[in-house]
């Protein structure tokens, strides 16, 4: 037999550990389950009581749901009572069994015993579903019409629930409400007022759904007729003397008063006549309510909200604002909280309604009063209580105007230092908005933004960072210098954790690095209003030399914690600096820059590598030097005769190319902020934009070289067509075999007869060659097993048999025979993860190139790439180690598979060389 309830509680309380408690409960649950199964009616209500206890402790009790329903059906009051309690707690609205109780509820509602009927109504009020509401509403309505006050008040609330669940029934009950308002019983009154509030809310929601004007519904009209009655009721409450029954701290029934005020607010919104009728009583409430107790303040608070909500007189509004001002000075934190909250709501509403119109007298008063209490609000920011701080922050944000922006922004920045980290992001955005809107001049704006980033660069959102850059770039040159000097200082002081600051700083240094070489000093002009202060302090920055500027960035990227995107930006910055410093004659700095740019040529990160190489090329181009790929295996002959062809005409780059390169490095165009915002684009697009352009521009200088390239060149030169792959492989065995394999390659191209040697050579070479995107560890990455698959066929195509693969390892575009699947010319990168990242890039140019980098190994083929092949239609760039072969196969028709379709390659052009690979443009 199971325990008694009291014993169970004792036992649970005696448990020392949670495990012990679980054991006790588990045992008891099992007992109860058994009891339920065996239909032990006698213990039923005790079991449900125990389940209530267990439910409170948070244990599962769903198995007891049906027991509750059985108890409800019992004729005895004690059992019924526990049953209803159990139902209200253990069942939720979603429970299926709830439907079964409908009949019992109906019967009980009509019970002679008022407590039974009361419990039933209470359950409906707490649990009724839409279906139940529809069934039971007529019964509930009976109680509304008459009967005891005890049941009437419960019926009111039950009805409120029913109407919430079935909004379409609202109209039928409007009339009923009118009679109820005449009731004498406070309980009935307070519930009926709540019912009316609910009905109004539901009604206006209904109206909105049906597209009607929510202020013109029949229901509202009916209620509006009741306004005088409600007002009278409120006045009676105020006037009535001491009534101990409903007194709270000397105020008669604050609950009813508050509910009445809420209802009046709903009725008075956008209704002149109703508002007119209320004005007097509201004034009475506002002046006569005693504010020494919480209850009184609650009424005042509600009254203020009502005054603000309706079309009240201006005088009344002043009264309300004064009350809020008093609240603000109150010692009680709750009241201060409420005041802050209401004030910000008022101001928002005013800004909302006052938009476009001439601000009304009252609007001015509210914000004027607020300005009067500015210091108090600001002090609230220092409160230990987070709720108050949050509210104050909100309010300050609304309080800012042209006049006070400087002092308030300073306060906000102070708060930024103190506030918990998770709020910083939001505050940064807010400060930014404030600064954006009200800032008096560019210098102040830039100053504030930089300070903000110094404090919370880590948390500031990308948008804020980008916009800061834009603001700096849009300001006059004087500010450029100022901002850059300031940023250099901030960056040097920082420990590298304020990433936002680094991003902005690095960009500015890159863009305006030359300005750092001059000293900068600025004397703030004395403002008229604070002329009393002592002589203005001038701000002076010393000139830096080029090397130390570069050092500043170098320190950043040398930190281990430095994120990649900062490094990327630093690279861009270096590229720009080498342009800015070009005419300064500081060789050491330029050398350093060149080295820094090249440092990432072998980086693991694609982006870094790409930037590094492209910038190096770009800088070379701008100097008039043609792009030359320096390879570790320098003794390898230059494949295309680009480097050593001795005074060839292609040696020098044309002037236009130089100009183009210089153009790319020159000052960024200032981006239009509006356009930028409209696109919701990461404004650093402006920073990285050039990098998007680089490939195109960078290709320009090299294409001159590409023209040189012809078959003669390849076969005429000494040991000409050395495959770049072994060259890349550089070290170890692959390099040694290279010459031989080259010959084989060539012979293979023409003969299409494979030999075993090239297979080896090619595969070792391939192993290195595919690895362009990874650094020294490359040898260990899985080299593609079958080099033929270098130009691997997309899965859609029928595969070449393994045999044919082996026999024609190098037959790329060559011999026709087994070629069901002479596949697309593709390049491989083993690092698929990087590839994916690149592929996901927003930059279309980037995607195009990425497209070409999938893994040749059929099994590892990147699905995403194959899925989007169609995107590429007319333009392709290839990184091919075996470009010569492509060129070599003469006038045979080449094709590749794009989007499952065989697409002929009409023309192949070498664009540039990149890391030992040739960037080709295929015309399809």
């Amino acid at each position: 037999m199971s325990l008694k309830l009291r014993d169970l509680i004792r036992k649970v309380r005696a448990c020392k550990t949670a495990a012990e408690e679980r054991a006790v409960i588990a045992k008891e649950s099992a007992m109860i389950r058994t009891a339920i199964r065996e239909e032990q009616e006698h213990y039923r209500h005790r079991n449900v009581a125990k389940l209530l206890f267990m439910h409170m402790l948070g244990y599962p009790t769903h198995f007891g749901q049906l027991e509750c329903l059985k108890l409800i059906a019992s004729p005895h009051f004690p059992e019924k009572r526990i049953g209803y309690l159990g139902m209200m707690l253990l069942l939720s609205e979603e429970a299926d069994v709830l439907m079964l109780s409908t009949n019992s509820l109906k019967n009980d509602m009509n019970s002679k015993n008022k407590f039974i009927a009361g419990l039933s109504l209470c359950t409906i009020g707490n649990l009724a579903t839409a279906d139940m509401s529809r069934d039971l509403a007529p019964e509930v309505d009976k109680h509304l019409k008459g009967g005891m006050p005890y049941l009437r008040k419960k019926a009111n609330l039950a009805m409120a629930r029913c109407l919430t669940k079935c909004p379409d029934m609202v109209e039928d009950f409007v009339d009923r409400v009118v009679t109820l308002l005449k009731d004498k019983n406070h309980g009935v009154l307070i519930t009926v007022v709540q019912l009316m509030t609910q009905v109004l809310l539901i009604d206006s929601r209904n109206a909105e759904e049906e597209g009607e004007d929510p202020f013109e519904t029949d229901c509202r009209k009916a209620f509006l007729r009741l306004v005088p009655m409600l007002v009278k009721m409120l006045r009676n409450l105020l006037g009535s003397g001491y009534s101990p029954e409903y007194d709270v701290g000397g105020i008669s029934d604050p609950f009813l008063q508050v509910q009445l005020l809420t209802l009046l607010r709903l009725l008075g919104t956008q209704n002149e006549t109703a508002s007119e009728e209320m004005n007097d009583v509201l004034a009475q409430v506002a002046t006569n309510t005693e504010s020494s107790k919480n209850a009184g303040n609650a009424i005042l608070y509600e009254c203020v909200q009502t005054i603000m909500g309706i079309e009240s007189e201006d005088g009344l509004r002043v009264l309300a604002v004064n009350i809020l001002g008093r609240f603000l000075l109150n010692r009680d934190n709750n009241i201060r909280y409420v005041a802050l909250n209401t004030l910000s709501r008022c101001i928002v509403e005013q800004q909302y309604t006052g938009d476009g119109n001439v601000p009304t007298e009252s609007a001015n008063t509210a914000s004027a009063a607020l300005q009067k209490h500015r210091q108090t609000v600001v002090d609230c920011l220092k409160d230990p209580d987070i709720s108050i701080r949050q509210r104050a922050l909100e309010l300050i944000y609304y309080m800012v105007n042209q006049g006070n922006v400087e002092s308030l922004a300073a306060e906000l920045l102070n708060y930024l230092v103190l506030c918990p980290r998770e709020h910083r992001r939001d505050i940064c955005t807010r400060i930014f908005r404030v600064v954006e809107k009200f800032s008096p001049d560019d210098r102040w704006r830039v100053d504030t933004l930089i300070t903000m980033l110094t404090i919370a660069g880590r948390e500031a959102s990308r948008d804020v960072q980008s916009a800061t850059v834009i603001y700096i770039s849009r300001s006059p040159p004087d500010i450029h210098a100022y901002a850059t000097h300031k940023l250099v200082k901030a960056i040097r002081d920082d420990d590298g954790s304020q990433r936002g600051l680094l991003v902005v700083g690095v960009w500015c240094i890159g863009e305006y690095g030359d300005l750092l070489l001059n000293p900068y000093s600025y004397t703030p002009s004395v403002r008229n209003n604070d002329a009393t202060t002592s002589a203005p302090v001038s701000i002076t920055f010393m000139a830096l030399d080029a090397v130390s500027v570069v050092e500043a960035i170098k320190t950043i990227i040398d930190r281990h914690s430095c994120p990649e995107y900062v490094k990327e930006r630093a690279l861009t910055s270096f590229a720009k600096l080498s342009d800015r410093f070009a005419d300064k004659g500081d060789v050491a700095a330029l050398d350093m820059l060149a080295k820094l740019i090249k440092k990432h040529e072998v980086s693991h990160s694609l982006e870094l590598q790409l930037r590094s190489c492209e910038y190096a090329a770009l800088i070379n181009a701008s100097k008039g030097i043609k792009t030359i790929i320096t390879k570790p295996a320098a003794e390898e002959e230059d494949l295309f005769g680009l480097a050593d062809n001795g005074g060839d005409s292609g040696e020098s780059v044309s002037a236009s190319v130089i100009n183009a390169a210089k153009e790319a490095l020159s000052r960024m165009p200032v981006v239009d902020l509006k356009v930028l915002r409209k696109k919701q684009e990461d404004a650093f697009g402006s920073g990285t934009m050039p990098s998007g352009n680089y490939p195109v521009e960078a290709s320009a200088p090299a294409s001159g070289g590409g023209d040189l390239l012809d078959l003669n060149d390849m076969f005429g030169g000494e040991a000409p067509a050395s495959a770049p792959a072994p060259a890349q492989n550089g070290s170890s065995g692959g390099g040694g075999e290279a010459p031989k394999s080259d010959l084989d390659l060539l012979s293979d191209i023409f003969a299409a007869t494979p030999s075993s040697a090239p297979v080896n050579a090619a595969s070792t070479g391939g192993g290195g060659g595919f690895d362009i995107f990874s650094t020294p560890a490359s040898q260990s990455t899985p080299a593609p097993a079958n080099p033929i698959d270098l130009f691997g066929s997309p899965p859609a195509m029928s595969m070449p048999t393994p045999a044919s693969q082996n026999s024609n390892p190098l037959d790329i575009f060559g011999a026709p025979p087994p070629v069901q699947s002479q596949p697309a010319a593709m390049m491989a990168t083993p690092n698929r993860r990087q590839h994916h990242r690149r592929y996901d890039s927003k930059d279309a140019e980037y995607r195009r190139r990425s497209y070409l980098c999938f893994h040749p190994d059929e099994k590892n083929r990147c699905r995403r790439c194959t899925a989007t092949h169609q995107e590429i239609s007319d333009y392709l760039v290839l990184f091919l180690p075996c470009y010569p072969k492509l060129m070599a196969c003469g006038n045979q028709e080449h094709w590749m598979v794009l989007g499952g379709k065989r697409t002929p390659i009409l023309d192949v052009k070498l664009n540039t060389k990149w890391l030992g690979y040739d960037l080709l443009t295929l015309t399809l």
Partner: protein, 142 residues
């Protein structure tokens, strides 16, 4: 009201009622939030905490926290007053109520709660009326 939770200083729930339907996991999150946000607060701080779509309004009596979840627009001060009313009713019934009373007579306190609040709305603002009804019902049981 959206919900009503009584929690002890140790974070144990002494009574809880959700007037709107929440899933089990939502309920758990709410109680967890209460324990995390309210219990560590200093006595002088304000009794209102914003948490997502609702506010916690709470009042502390000795080692018990009475926490009410209300929608954002609700008058917090009157909610505090309502909590106090409930506590006074409990006090009147148990004759200077203590935590143990609530533990051992859970169903009694629940009955008082349901007598005063239905569907999250105040039903009777006179504690005497409430007690009278409860006591009368008790007599019927015996």
């Amino acid at each position: 009201f959206n919900f009503f939770v009584l929690m002890s200083r140790q974070g144990k729930i002494r009574l809880s009622e959700f007037f709107q339907s929440y899933t089990e996991s939502e309920k758990r999150r709410i109680t967890k939030d209460i324990a995390a946000d309210i219990l560590p607060r200093a006595p002088k701080m304000c009794n209102i905490i914003e948490k997502g779509p609702y506010k916690f309004v709470y009042r502390r009596y000795a080692s018990l926290y009475f926490v009410v979840g209300v929608p954002l627009g609700m008058n917090e001060l009157i909610v505090l007053e309502q909590i106090h009313l409930f506590v006074e009713a409990l006090d009147g019934y148990f004759n200077s109520v203590c935590e143990l009373d609530l533990v051992f007579s859970l169903h009694k306190s629940l009955l008082i709660l349901f007598e005063m609040f239905i569907g999250g709305m105040l039903c009777e603002s006179n504690k005497r009326e409430v007690l009278k009804a409860i006591v009368e019902a008790e007599e019927m049981v015996e």
